[in-house]
Symmetry: C2
């Protein structure tokens, strides 16, 4: 709260600055105050009840300034959202270890995150935001590339690691959309353990199987 008040004081000056055309409004402190307010509101009120207006009010800045910095609610959400786990710490443990259980480890970790109310809604929110508009999609791609995909490709000991990781991403984004967003049955009603069992073999094949892109006819 101290931080918010401090920023609110400096932000009112900035808001006046905006009236001068051609001058870039705000400073990184103001932007940070908006982000901090957005983070708190998205977490506590949820996506639907958080608005550009309510975030601006909490940060003590003009609503137009939030629009200037972030363009849309979706982009503000993506900018304010971090992954609900420490990828730098988690990935080596998941992608290292017994190669025969790679797919199962990835499946178990991801399903664990998605089934957690808090962590799951953050990840599902990112994917929904990406679907809303191209600029939010680009931001989500940058976030996932930086945090997960580039690190994953570096850690994976197999040929074509980047392609494998992007296919794993495709698989997992499909799970998020089909089970948690669209609700495709019976996938949407499976127990978490059954989901792990259902997706682990495909992940295992993508991560440790033959090079992706070879058309073989054996199931």
């Amino acid at each position: 709260m101290y931080y918010y008040r401090m920023q609110a004081a400096s932000a009112s000056t900035v808001s006046q600055d905006q009236r001068r055309p051609g001058r870039r409004p705000g400073d990184s402190g103001t932007r940070d105050a908006v982000l901090a307010a957005a983070q708190r509101q998205f977490a506590e009120l949820g996506y639907d009840r958080t608005t550009m207006r309510s975030v601006a009010a909490e940060a003590g800045v003009d609503q137009k300034l939030v629009g200037y910095f972030f363009g849309s609610k979706q982009r503000l959400f993506v900018a304010a959202t971090t992954l609900p786990f420490d990828a730098a710490a988690a990935l080596p443990a998941i992608l290292g270890g017994d190669p025969a259980a790679l797919g199962e480890r990835v499946a178990r970790f991801v399903v664990g995150i998605l089934e957690d109310a808090d962590a799951g809604s953050r990840i599902i929110g990112l994917i929904r935001a990406a679907a809303a508009e191209p600029e939010a999609a680009r931001m989500v791609r940058d976030l996932l590339t930086r945090e997960l995909w580039a690190r994953g490709a570096e850690l994976l000991r197999a040929d074509q690691p980047e392609l494998r990781i992007s296919l794993v991403a495709s698989e997992l984004i499909g799970l998020i959309m089909a089970r948690y967003v669209i609700g495709a049955e019976p996938l949407a009603s499976l127990s978490p353990e059954a989901v792990v069992a259902a997706i682990a073999p495909a992940l295992q094949r993508l991560l440790a199987g033959p090079a992706p892109g070879r058309l073989d006819k054996t199931p």
Copy 2:
């Protein structure tokens, strides 16, 4: 155009009716006129340039009536969108035939649709709309269940056909999001033929392999 004008004439009466509280505004003819206008505009102007207002104007009805019938632009889009292929005709050919090439046939068909500018944007638009709000997600789920998933499960000669089909749906929705919406690389830059080769083995396993949900450790 004849249809539109005819509906527009009857719709203006309906719009007046709406002022009487408690009375259900419109009839199925008005609803159809709005849908026809939406279909034309989404196809010709694209999603972003089509608005509830522009559809109402073309259908000759009050914008509030469009809101009354469809609630949001996403829901109007889903209601106005049909699959860009005849599923009843296509599915038997794809899911029948040589079981050893099931995955490849599904992959080739789906990638063909998605790479077609017109057909692809309709399918991708449906998935994006589903991500936008729960009610649109429900409509997309109903459409896909009715047109594709129920039919697919009936045609598939394997145990647990519904679960297999929902996992195939998950896989393909992931492809749509990762390649066409989020742009995960290198998947997003693969040639269509390389995408077919990359996803066919997983589809083959889901459609004709061991029962999904069994954790085996062989890739």
